[in-house]
C-alpha cells in the first residue's frame, strides 16, 4: 500500500496543470475545499484506503470530470462530496463551511438544499410521476406547493421534459429518465451538481444528449462534479481530476 506522500510522478504534472490554468479559475469563489481528505474502509480483514490525502478545491462554475480506473475511488470521492458518506480524516469545507462533522439530519439538510445528484441508474422512484419525482427534494424542504409547482415546471422545461410531467418513469426511455433526473437535481437550485457516470447506463446518442444538457447548465452558471469513464466526455469538462488508487494523480484545467 502506498503512503500518503504525494510526490510520485503524476503528482508533479498535476501541480503544473493547476498553475497553468491558474489565473482564470482563481476568479471564482471556492465552493468545495478538501484538505488531506482520507477515507478508509475497514472490513473484516482488510483496510481499504479508498481515498488518501486528497487536496482539492472546486470553484464556482467549474465543470470537473473525475476519471480513473475502476476501484480508484471516484464514487467514494463523490459520496463524500455529496455528504452521503463521511471521511475518515481531513477537512471538507462546502461553501466555506465545515461539513464533516454534521449530524445525520444536518447532512440531510445540506444535501437537500445545496447539492444536486445525478446517478448512473437514474434512480427515479417508480411509483411517483415525473412531476412528483422532480418535486420530491422540494417537498423535503417544506416548500409551499405553489412554489414547488413553479420550480418543477421550470426545471422540466429546462431539460425538455415538461410534456411528460404526468408520465411514470417506467414509461420513459433511459435518456428521458436521465433528463428527468437532471431536472430533479437542478430544481432546488443547488450550489453544486454531483453526477456519477450520468451516461453510464445510456447509449451514445442519449449519452450525448445528457452531456449537452449538462453543458447548457454549466453555461448558465452551474458548478458540476462528474465521474466518467468516457474520455470524450471528460474532455467536454473544464477540468479533469484523475484518481489512481485513492489519490489525485493528475489535475488538468482547460481554457
Amino acid at each position: 500500500m502506498m503512503t500518503t506522500t504525494n510526490d510520485s510522478v503524476p503528482a508533479q504534472e498535476s501541480e503544473g496543470a493547476v498553475l497553468a490554468g491558474g489565473p482564470k479559475v482563481e476568479a471564482g469563489k471556492a465552493l468545495i475545499q478538501l484538505e488531506g481528505l482520507t477515507k478508509v474502509f475497514e472490513t473484516e480483514e482488510v483496510e481499504t484506503h479508498a481515498l488518501s490525502n486528497i487536496h482539492l478545491t472546486v470553484r464556482q462554475n467549474e465543470w470537473v470530470a473525475i476519471v480513473g480506473p475502476s476501484g480508484s475511488g471516484k464514487s467514494t470521492l463523490l459520496a463524500v462530496l455529496g455528504l452521503l458518506d463521511t471521511a475518515t480524516r481531513g477537512a471538507y469545507l462546502l461553501d466555506g463551511r465545515s461539513v464533516l462533522d454534521l449530524s445525520s439530519s444536518d447532512r440531510a439538510l445540506v444535501r437537500n438544499r445545496h447539492i444536486g445528484f445525478i446517478f448512473q441508474s437514474f434512480n427515479l422512484i417508480g411509483d411517483l410521476t415525473v412531476f412528483e419525482n422532480v418535486e420530491l427534494p422540494l417537498t423535503y424542504r417544506g416548500m409551499p406547493a405553489a412554489e414547488r409547482k413553479q420550480r418543477v415546471e421550470r426545471a422540466l422545461e429546462r431539460v425538455g421534459m415538461a410534456h411528460r410531467a404526468r408520465h411514470m418513469p417506467g414509461q420513459l426511455s433511459g435518456g428521458q429518465q436521465q433528463r428527468v433526473a437532471v431536472a430533479r437535481a437542478v430544481a432546488g437550485d443547488p450550489i453544486i451538481l454531483l453526477a456519477d457516470e450520468p451516461t453510464g447506463n445510456l447509449d451514445s446518442k442519449n449519452g450525448e444528449a445528457v452531456m449537452q444538457l449538462l453543458g447548457e447548465l454549466h453555461k448558465a452558471g452551474a458548478t458540476i462534479c462528474m465521474v466518467t469513464h468516457d474520455p470524450a466526455h471528460a474532455r467536454v469538462a473544464t477540468r479533469t481530476v484523475s484518481l489512481f488508487d485513492g489519490r489525485v494523480v493528475q489535475d488538468e484545467q482547460r481554457r
Binding site: R113, N123, R184
Partner: protein, 805 residues
C-alpha cells in the same frame, strides 16, 4: 423413492434454516385447525347432532300462554293434558312428564336422583326402545300401581355397575319401593341429566276441571307424518279456541293460546345464537389463520424466486421443483396438523369445562372427526397452494427475463397480494375485536348489576324432604325449626335461612288477589314471584328493608299471616306508597288473607339481565315448603368453612335427607352469567389470536416492502429526506393498510353487530365507544407492528443510491 427421501431431507434442512418462519406457519395452521375443530365440535354436538330419538324433527312441545298476563310458555295441567290427548288432529301421540328429585335410601348414604314422572306414552312418543327389560305400561298410570322404575344408561352404569340382573331390583325412593323394569339406551336422558323415570299416576281428583289451573306438567308430542309446524299451530289454535269456549272461567279474556315449539328449539334455544355466533367468529379466525399461512408462504416464495430461477436454469424440471416445494409444504402442514389436533382436543375439553352446566347436551360433545378433517383440510390446502407459488413461478416461459428483471415484477405483485391479505386480516380482526369488546362490556355491565343482596360469605345448598314422611305441614315446620336452630347454633355461622327457591334459582309464579281490588279485565291473573322463607333468610342475604318489618319467628302457623314484598311489587300495586298493612291472598285452598308487613329492596330473583319483578316473601312457618334452598352466612366470611358442620347437623336431624348442590352463593351469581362470560372469553381469545396474526402479517408485509424499497429509501435520503421522512413514509404505508382494514372491518362490524343485539346487556350493538376504542386499539397495534420495519428503513445507507442496480 430415493428421490423422495432426498426431497424430505432437503426440505428438512431448508426448514431448519428458517425456524421463525416454521414456527409462525405451524402456529397459524395449528390455531386455525385447533380453534375451529374445538368450537365446531361443540356446536355440532349441541346443535347439529340430532337427539337420539326417532325422527326428532316431528317432536314438539306444547305450552300454555296467557298473553294478557304476559305469561309465556307455561306448564300444562292434567285436564289440559287430557284435552291434548283427544282434541288435536295433528298429533300422533302425546306424553306428559314432570321432573322432580327423589332421594334413594337403603344404601350407606342417601342419594339424590333426578327423576322424571312420565306417562307411559313418553317413550313411544320419543321413539326409543329399552336395551334391557321393558318400559312401564299405561296400567301404571293409576295411583298404587305406579311403583315401577326405568333407569337411564348412566344411572345403570354408575349405581348398578351395568349389572344385567338389575331388573326386578327394588329401589326405595322417598320411602316408596319401586321395581326396576327396564334400562334405556346410552344417550337417552330427557330432559337432560335425568337419572330415573317413574310412572305419572295423578290422583283422580287432579283430572277434574277445577284443577285446570293447576299447571305443572310438560307435554311432548309427536306430529303425524308430513304435518308442518305451521299446520300444527293452526290446529292447536283451534283447540285453544274450543277450550276457551268450553271453560270461560279458566281462559276468558286471558289471551289464551297454545304454543307449539320444536323440541330442538326448546333444548338449545337459549344458546343457539351464542353458538352460531361463536362458530361464525371462529370461522373468521380460520380465515385469518389461512391468510397468515398464505402470507408467510408468499413471503418465503419471494425470497426464493431467485433460487428457483437458478435451479430451473440449471435444468430442474417443473415436476422436480413442484415435488420439492410440495414436500416442504407437506412437512409444515403435517406439523401444523398434529399440533392443531392436540389443540383441538385440549380446546374441546377446555370449552366444556368453561361452559360447565350451562350448555345443554354437553354430554353429546366429542371432538368431531369431520370438523377436524374440514378445518385441517382447509388450512392444509392453503398451505399447499401457496407453498407451490415459487415452484409455479419457475414454470414461466421466459426464465432469463425473470432472472434479468430480478424478482421485481413478481415481487411487486406479491406485495399487492400480500397487502390484500393483510387488509383482510385486519378487517376480520377488527370484527372479532368489536365482538369481544361488546361482549366484554355486556359481561362487565352484568357483573356490576346491583343484585340487591350480598352473596359473598354465603353458602347455599338444597334440601328436599321426601313427600311420604313429611306429608303434614307440621312435620315440615318442625324440620325447618330444628334444622335451622342447629345450624344457627354452630360457632362459625352468623345467620341462616331457608327459602323455596334460591336467588337466581328459577321462577315460581303464583296468582293472587288484592283485598278490595276488583279485577281489572286488562290485568287478568296478576302473578307474583312467590317465595316462602324463614325469618332470617332476607337478613342472611343482607337485603335492605325499606319500610315496615322483616318476617319474624312470631309469624308462625297460628298467627295471622304476614308477607314481605319487594319494591317493584309495592310500586306496581300501591304506587302512592301505602302498601303496608294491605292484604292479599294467594290463589289456592291452603292460603289465607295475608298482611303486608314490610317492603324490601328488589333483589334479582330470576336473572341478572332482566329487571326485578314483583316478588313476595311469605313466612315458611305459614306456607311450609318441602323443597328448600338453604343459605348460611359464615362468620369468617369464608363460606366453605361451615359446610361440613352444616351437613353434620342435617344428618343429625334426618339421616335420610341429603344436602345437594352445595355452592357458594357468589358462584351461583357467577354461573348465572356463565355463558356470557364464555362468549366474552372466547371472543376475546379469538380476537387476540387474530390481532396477533394480523400484526405479524402487517409487520411481515411492510418489512418485505421495505426490503424491496431499500434502494428507493437510499435515493430519498440522498435527495435530502431525513430519517423522520422515511419513518413517516413507511409508517404511512403500514397505516394505509391498517386504515383500509379497519375501515372494511368497521363496515363489516356494523353489518354484523345487528346479529349480536339480543346477546348483549347494558350496551347497544352499535356502541360508539367500543367501535372507536377497538379501531384505535387495532391501529395502535398496526402502528407498533409497522414501527419495526420502519425503523429498519431509516437505517438504510443513502450511499446505495450511487451503486448500480
Amino acid at each position: 423413492m430415493s428421490m423422495l427421501l432426498q426431497d424430505v431431507k432437503y426440505a428438512l434442512r431448508t426448514l431448519k434454516g428458517s425456524p421463525g418462519f416454521v414456527l409462525a406457519a405451524v402456529l397459524a395452521l395449528a390455531l386455525g385447525i385447533g380453534a375451529n375443530s374445538a368450537v365446531f365440535s361443540v356446536v355440532n354436538g349441541v346443535l347439529l347432532t340430532p337427539p337420539p330419538f326417532r325422527e326428532p324433527s316431528r317432536l314438539v312441545h306444547l305450552f300454555g300462554n296467557f298473553k294478557a298476563a304476559d305469561l309465556k310458555d307455561i306448564s300444562v295441567s292434567v285436564p289440559e293434558y287430557h284435552d291434548y290427548q283427544e282434541m288435536p288432529r295433528v298429533l300422533e301421540s302425546v306424553a306428559a312428564y314432570a321432573p322432580t328429585s327423589l332421594t334413594m335410601t337403603g344404601g350407606d348414604t342417601p342419594l339424590r336422583f333426578t327423576v322424571v314422572y312420565s306417562t307411559a306414552s313418553f317413550f313411544s312418543t320419543l321413539g326409543v326402545q329399552p336395551i334391557l327389560g321393558r318400559f312401564y305400561t299405561q296400567e301404571t298410570e293409576t295411583p298404587g300401581r305406579d311403583k315401577e322404575v326405568v333407569l337411564t344408561q348412566k344411572a345403570w352404569r354408575i349405581h348398578f355397575g351395568k349389572d344385567p340382573a338389575v331388573l326386578g331390583h327394588v329401589l326405595v325412593l322417598d320411602g316408596e319401593s319401586y321395581t326396576v323394569v327396564g334400562v334405556l339406551p346410552a344417550g337417552v336422558s330427557y330432559p337432560a341429566d335425568t337419572d330415573l323415570y317413574i310412572p305419572f299416576a295423578p290422583p283422580p281428583m287432579t283430572s277434574t276441571d277445577s284443577r285446570r289451573g293447576n299447571r305443572y306438567l310438560d307435554v311432548v308430542a309427536r306430529l303425524k307424518p308430513g304435518v308442518t309446524l305451521e299446520a300444527a299451530r293452526r290446529d292447536l289454535a283451534r283447540v285453544s279456541g274450543e277450550q276457551e269456549a268450553a271453560y270461560p272461567d279458566n281462559y276468558k279474556d286471558g289471551g289464551w293460546g297454545i304454543s307449539v315449539n320444536s323440541m330442538e328449539d326448546l333444548v338449545v334455544g337459549d344458546v343457539r345464537g351464542t353458538l352460531w355466533m361463536l362458530l361464525g367468529a371462529v370461522g373468521f379466525v380460520l380465515l385469518v389463520a389461512c391468510s397468515s399461512v398464505a402470507n408467510l408462504l408468499l413471503a418465503r416464495a419471494a425470497t426464493r424466486s431467485r433460487e428457483v430461477s437458478i435451479r430451473a436454469a440449471l435444468g430442474a424440471g417443473r415436476g422436480r421443483l413442484v415435488a420439492q416445494f410440495l414436500t416442504e409444504s407437506l412437512l409444515l402442514a403435517a406439523a401444523g396438523g398434529v399440533l392443531g389436533l392436540l389443540l383441538a382436543m385440549w380446546g374441546t375439553d377446555a370449552l366444556l369445562t368453561l361452559v360447565g352446566e350451562s350448555l345443554p347436551r354437553a354430554s353429546e360433545v366429542k371432538l368431531d372427526g369431520w370438523s377436524l378433517l374440514f378445518t385441517g383440510g382447509m388450512s392444509l390446502l392453503t398451505g399447499l397452494l401457496f407453498g407451490l407459488v415459487p415452484a409455479l413461478q419457475s414454470s414461466r416461459a421466459d426464465l432469463s427475463a425473470a432472472m434479468r428483471q430480478g424478482a421485481k415484477g413478481t415481487a411487486e405483485g406479491a406485495v399487492k397480494l400480500r397487502s390484500g391479505l393483510v387488509v383482510a386480516q385486519m378487517a376480520l380482526a377488527l370484527v372479532l375485536l368489536v365482538g369481544a369488546g361488546l361482549f366484554a362490556k355486556s359481561f362487565l355491565a352484568l357483573r356490576s348489576v346491583d343484585v340487591g343482596f350480598t352473596p359473598e360469605g354465603v353458602l347455599t345448598g338444597r334440601v328436599f324432604l321426601p313427600a311420604t314422611r313429611y306429608k303434614e305441614s307440621a312435620r315440615r315446620v318442625a324440620f325447618h325449626r330444628e334444622f335451622l336452630e342447629r345450624v344457627q347454633a354452630l360457632p362459625g355461622v352468623e345467620s341462616a335461612g331457608l327459602t323455596n327457591i334460591l336467588p337466581l334459582g328459577g321462577r315460581s309464579d303464583r296468582s293472587f288477589d288484592v283485598e278490595g281490588r276488583t279485577e281489572d279485565p286488562n290485568e287478568h291473573l296478576p302473578a307474583v314471584e312467590y317465595r316462602t322463607v324463614t325469618p332470617d333468610y332476607l337478613r342472611t342475604l343482607r337485603v335492605k328493608l325499606r319500610a315496615g318489618r322483616m318476617l319474624q319467628a312470631s309469624d308462625g302457623p297460628d298467627s295471622p299471616w304476614a308477607v314481605v314484598i319487594n319494591k317493584s311489587f309495592a310500586d306496581a300495586y300501591w304506587p302512592s306508597g301505602d302498601a303496608l298493612g294491605k292484604r292479599l291472598k294467594l290463589h289456592g285452598d291452603d292460603t289465607q288473607w295475608t298482611t303486608v308487613v314490610g317492603i324490601v329492596e328488589d333483589l334479582r330473583e330470576w336473572n341478572l339481565s332482566q329487571p326485578a319483578r314483583p316478588a313476595a316473601y311469605w313466612s315458611m312457618a305459614q306456607l311450609p315448603a318441602s323443597r328448600m334452598g338453604l343459605v348460611v352466612r359464615a362468620k369468617s366470611g369464608i363460606e366453605e368453612s361451615v359446610r361440613a358442620s352444616v351437613e353434620a347437623e342435617l344428618r343429625a336431624v334426618d339421616r335420610d335427607v341429603p344436602m345437594f348442590a352445595v355452592s357458594p352463593l357468589a358462584r351461583l351469581v357467577d354461573e348465572s352469567i356463565g355463558s356470557r362470560r364464555l362468549s366474552a372469553l372466547l371472543m376475546g381469545l379469538f380476537a387476540g389470536v387474530s390481532v396477533v396474526l394480523a400484526a405479524l402479517g402487517i409487520s411481515g408485509v411492510i418489512a418485505y416492502a421495505v426490503a424491496l424499497r431499500t434502494r428507493e429509501m437510499g435515493i430519498r435520503m440522498a435527495l435530502g429526506a431525513e430519517r423522520g421522512d422515511v419513518m413517516r413514509l413507511v409508517l404511512g404505508q403500514g397505516m394505509k393498510l391498517a386504515g383500509l382494514g379497519v375501515g372494511v372491518g368497521l363496515v363489516l362490524s356494523l353489518g354484523l353487530a345487528r346479529l349480536l343485539g339480543s346477546m348483549l346487556y347494558g350496551v347497544t350493538a352499535y356502541d360508539p365507544w367500543t367501535f372507536v376504542g377497538v379501531a384505535a386499539l387495532l391501529s395502535g397495534v398496526a402502528l407498533l407492528a409497522t414501527w419495526l420495519p420502519a425503523r429498519r428503513a431509516t437505517l438504510v445507507d443513502p450511499i446505495i443510491a450511487l451503486r448500480a442496480e
